[in-house]
């Protein structure tokens, strides 16, 4: 099969960017979307041009490193998968496919399709953990956890930190990302001690990074490769309200 590509090219954060047209043929429908871009890059290099900068690592949907907006949708139109899990057989030969980076004020662009998502790490450093030093843990089975609670915590903990929720949100809000981590620990007894400080600090950091607020569009849930529920945002808000009153 062959496709026409319109790809965002931008040499650096301060340089102007634009969509550039490419065409690529002899694509194997079994190829992944990123393997198709690999092929394009190999072609560009042989033609003496600079390859398209994009990120990926595990290429099996778990590291959260890849993230492209494909035809206007974060991680592509199929849903419930990461960019690296998109296969070319989802497209038709002759299609025109537009490829852009995850755009958000809090994700400054580095080059072409590569953005800086370290704002997520800074949010996590404020409370994305249970503060327990190595060696000070009790026997694991001394903390019984209801199976359903463990499952709910796992549903939220499945977040891979890719940032699709931010890219999909009209406000570029990180609420689903933060809500998922807050929820994970809300469901677990280990998370109770720091329950209030965690949500206050993480939300404060989220705001200071320049992410927008949530206005319930639910685009985040639709784009999330791990199908993390928007109910986590509701839980984060309840936790936040409770924490504000608890702190008074």
């Amino acid at each position: 099969m062959n496709v026409n590509l319109r790809i965002w090219r931008q040499p650096g954060p301060n340089a102007p960017g634009r969509l550039v047209d490419y065409s690529l043929d002899e694509i194997d429908p079994s190829q992944s979307f990123l393997e198709m871009l690999d092929k394009l890059n190999e072609k560009l290099i042989h033609e003496g041009q600079e390859p398209v900068a994009f990120e990926s690592d595990c290429r099996e949907g778990i590291c959260g490193n890849c993230g492209l907006v494909i035809n206007g949708i974060a991680h592509g139109p199929k849903g419930a998968c990461t960019t690296c899990e998109v296969r070319m057989r989802q497209f038709n030969s002759g299609d025109t496919i537009t490829v852009e980076p995850f755009r958000a004020k809090a994700f400054p662009l580095i080059k072409d399709l590569v953005v800086n998502r370290s704002a997520f790490d800074r949010i996590m450093s404020k409370g994305g953990f249970v503060a327990v030093n190595t060696g000070s843990a009790q026997d694991a089975n001394l903390i019984p956890i209801h199976k359903d609670d463990a499952e709910r915590a796992m549903d939220a903990a499945a977040c891979i930190g890719c940032g699709a929720c931010v890219a999909a949100c009209p406000n570029a809000s990180a609420s689903l990302f933060v809500g998922a981590k807050v929820s994970q620990f809300t469901w677990l007894p280990q998370g109770q001690v720091e329950r209030h400080t965690r949500v206050l600090k993480m939300v404060k950091q989220m705001d200071s990074e320049g992410f927008g607020d949530c206005s319930n569009h639910a685009e985040c849930e639709a784009a999330c490769p791990k199908e993390i529920s928007i109910s986590n945002i509701g839980r984060m808000r309840r936790e936040y309200t409770k924490a504000v009153f608890a702190a008074v």
Binding site: E42, H46, R87, S125, N133, G135, A140, A150, A158, G161
Partner: protein, 641 residues
């Protein structure tokens, strides 16, 4: 054999069950007030790196932590699916620290160090405690207790798991602990940095040179010790289950600075992966081994039989694992399953478009158990397979083929995890120590976290407390010299200006590696690899093409540096495989098999670790040995018939 130098692993005296306890007491401690005067470099943020950096930060050391990804949470430990072993014996099924130790030594085919393995089994129980306290959402029973499963043919249920995302959850636990120390100011994080060299001062590891992967600038960092937690080298095969950025560069550059490389030929090829489909594929996807519990492996009896699987009658199918290994059938260990699949494909009986695949058929299981039960057990895996290949495993047999997955070899370390370079430590998959010639399922996560959480905090303290270290700065002549060499290396790569991309050369290397240094090896093939690899290397240095600028985000330059190192490591792997004229674990030499075609160890001549010493460019490295002694587990020949 050219065994000249013997290595001392510094194994503490006493019975194996007491070595670690006694050693912990005997080791010197660093006064709390003095810990903050020490700076430690940790390279890598996977399970080993993140757990080490977090734990050392908690103790009060100043930690500088580096990773090539944009965030520490993306290290490839994140992709581990199955679980983590621990000798908790929560199931009351006869497990114990000693049994986990025994199973691991035996599983490693008697090529692992007993003392290390026992320590690993001992601390395994603390790992689970630590991870649960961190809020890792392990699977639970209805009563609220932790759930376990049997994994990889183990006779006890000692594997803890978090759905199919155990590695991710353990890594996020360690990452959380790490980010807490970042916030506390005890760990300074350096993402998007690639370590390109080690700096030694007075023959002691005192710093590293990194390339900033965004700006392209070379950066210098000094410390009192360097911890390498940079993972394995399966990507030397190009196609593997590892992430595309996994590489051996940091370890390889340390090898060239005097760290011996141990057992490089010990690699693990995982049997249940989705086969390759073509030239432009970038990775192989692993599917859980549990599929072999109900799937039956077969190929057509006749060569070149290209009928659809449904058109091949039962009598014309060869269920080769069941036929050859009636006792274990489709559940034989990873290396045996992989090797047999390769053999039938080389006979011309492989299936699929490339002829390098075998069927994994659920037809009989679906008839026996019903589609619902199969969907319950393997639904997510079937969906994944369907997504990637376009075939529906409920309707037609899956196709699988083995893929490089894990490397047991790595930098040689003593009992304290220190390499042959003083002050340079190696943790996790980057070292060689605990898995011998074959790693058991669910033991990689255990080892990474054992090294980081519970071993290095003790042994590093002892090193710092007993070593006199003069202050160093990054402006010293030693740093100047290494930085100049690294710069020259980058310049050399950029100046080739040829026509071949790094990936094209990497694929060429990968083909040789999988053909001759893959699942089964023989003298002629290994010698071919030793001839071919230098030829590919020459092509690389004469015809490599790197577009763009070195002082920029430049993925092609990153790849080229890694491929340059793989082109040397691959040769060392072939050399190591050639010298080890026995079969053991994942290393199968066609010349060393018993009358039934099974791997035959040569304990008399090869009960040792082979550790290679770099002697200079274009010189054959020296093969040194560490003799292995088995005082507790008596070596026996494996049998799965």
């Amino acid at each position: 054999m050219s065994a000249k130098k013997t290595l001392d692993a510094k194994i503490p005296p006493g019975p194996v069950t007491e070595k670690w306890t006694q050693h912990k007491f005997n080791m010197k401690l660093v006064n709390p007030a003095n810990k903050r005067k020490h700076t430690v470099i940790v390279v890598g943020t996977g399970l080993a790196g993140a757990s080490a950096a977090a734990s050392l930060g908690e103790l009060g050391y100043n930690v500088l932590n580096f990773c090539i990804q944009d965030s520490p949470r993306r290290a490839h430990s994140v992709a581990a699916q199955g679980g983590i072993n621990a000798a908790k014996n929560y199931q009351n099924d006869g497990d114990s620290v000693y049994r986990l130790f025994y199973d691991t030594v035996k599983g490693g085919d008697f090529r692992a160090r007993e003392a290390n393995v026992h320590r690993l089994a001992e601390v395994s129980v603390s790992i689970i405690d630590q991870c649960v306290a961190q809020g890792v959402p392990f699977a639970r029973e209805y009563g609220g207790m932790l759930s376990n499963r049997s994994f990889g043919g183990a006779q006890v249920s000692r594997t803890f798991y978090a759905r199919g995302q155990t590695g991710q959850q353990l890594l996020l636990g360690a990452y959380g602990a790490l980010m807490r120390q970042v916030e506390e100011g005890k760990v300074k994080l350096f993402p998007r940095r690639e370590m390109l060299d080690l700096v030694k001062v007075n023959d002691v590891a005192r710093g590293i040179i990194c390339r900033n992967l965004v700006t392209g600038e070379l950066e210098r960092y000094a410390a009192d010790a360097v911890l390498l937690c940079t993972g394995g080298y399966s990507t030397v095969f190009y196609l593997s289950t590892n992430a595309v950025n996994c590489n051996a560069t940091a370890a390889w550059r340390c090898y060239k600075r005097g760290a011996y490389f141990a057992n490089p030929c010990f690699t693990q090829i995982h049997p249940t992966c989705i086969p390759r489909f073509g030239e432009t594929q970038s990775k192989l996807t692993l599917m859980s081994e549990s599929l072999r519990n109900d799937g039956r492996v077969w190929v057509p009896k006749r060569k070149g039989d290209d009928r659809k699987p449904s058109e091949i009658p039962e009598t014309e199918r060869d269920y080769f694992l069941e036929a050859k290994y009636p006792a274990f059938g489709n559940l034989v260990p990873r290396d045996i399953a992989s090797r047999n699949a390769q053999e039938v494909c080389q006979e011309g009986r492989g299936v699929g478009p490339t002829g390098y695949a075998v069927y994994l058929d659920f037809g009989e299981a679906i008839q026996r158990l019903g589609k619902d039960v199969i969907a319950q057990r393997y639904g997510n895996l079937f969906a994944m397979y369907h997504e990637i290949t376009g075939d529906d495993p409920y309707e037609t047999p899956m196709m699988i083929y083995p893929a490089p997955h894990y490397t047991m070899g790595g930098l040689w370390v003593d009992y304290n995890l220190m390499t042959t370079v003083n002050g340079l430590f190696a943790l996790g998959e980057a070292n060689f120590s605990d898995h011998g010639a074959n790693r058991l399922g669910a033991s990689a996560l255990m080892q990474g976290l054992a090294d980081g959480y519970f071993v290095i905090p003790y042994t590093l303290g002892n090193y710092l407390a007993t070593t006199k270290l003069d202050p160093v700065t990054t402006e010293s002549p030693e740093f100047d010299a290494v930085a100049a060499e690294v710069q020259a290396g980058v310049d050399k790569l950029m100046s080739i200006k040829g026509k071949t991309t790094a990936d094209e050369i990497h694929r060429e290397l990968g083909n040789i590696m999988i053909d001759e240094v893959g699942m089964s090896r023989h003298e002629k093939g290994l010698n071919r690899a030793l001839e071919e690899i230098p030829r590919i290397r020459e092509k690389f240095w004469n015809d490599l093409c790197i577009p763009g600028d070195a002082k920029d985000y430049n993925k092609e330059l990153e790849k080229a540096g890694r491929v340059a190192d793989f082109l040397e490591l691959g040769e060392l792997m072939a050399r190591d495989a050639l010298e080890r004229k026995e079969s053991c674990g994942g290393h199968f030499r066609l010349e060393s098999q018993d009358s039934e075609g099974e791997a035959k160890r040569d304990d008399e001549n090869f009960t040792h670790v082979a550790a290679w010493r770099f002697r200079g460019e274009d010189k054959v490295p020296e093969r040194c040995v560490e003799a292995l002694e088995y005082e507790n587990v008596k070596p026996s020949q494996r049998s799965y018939k």
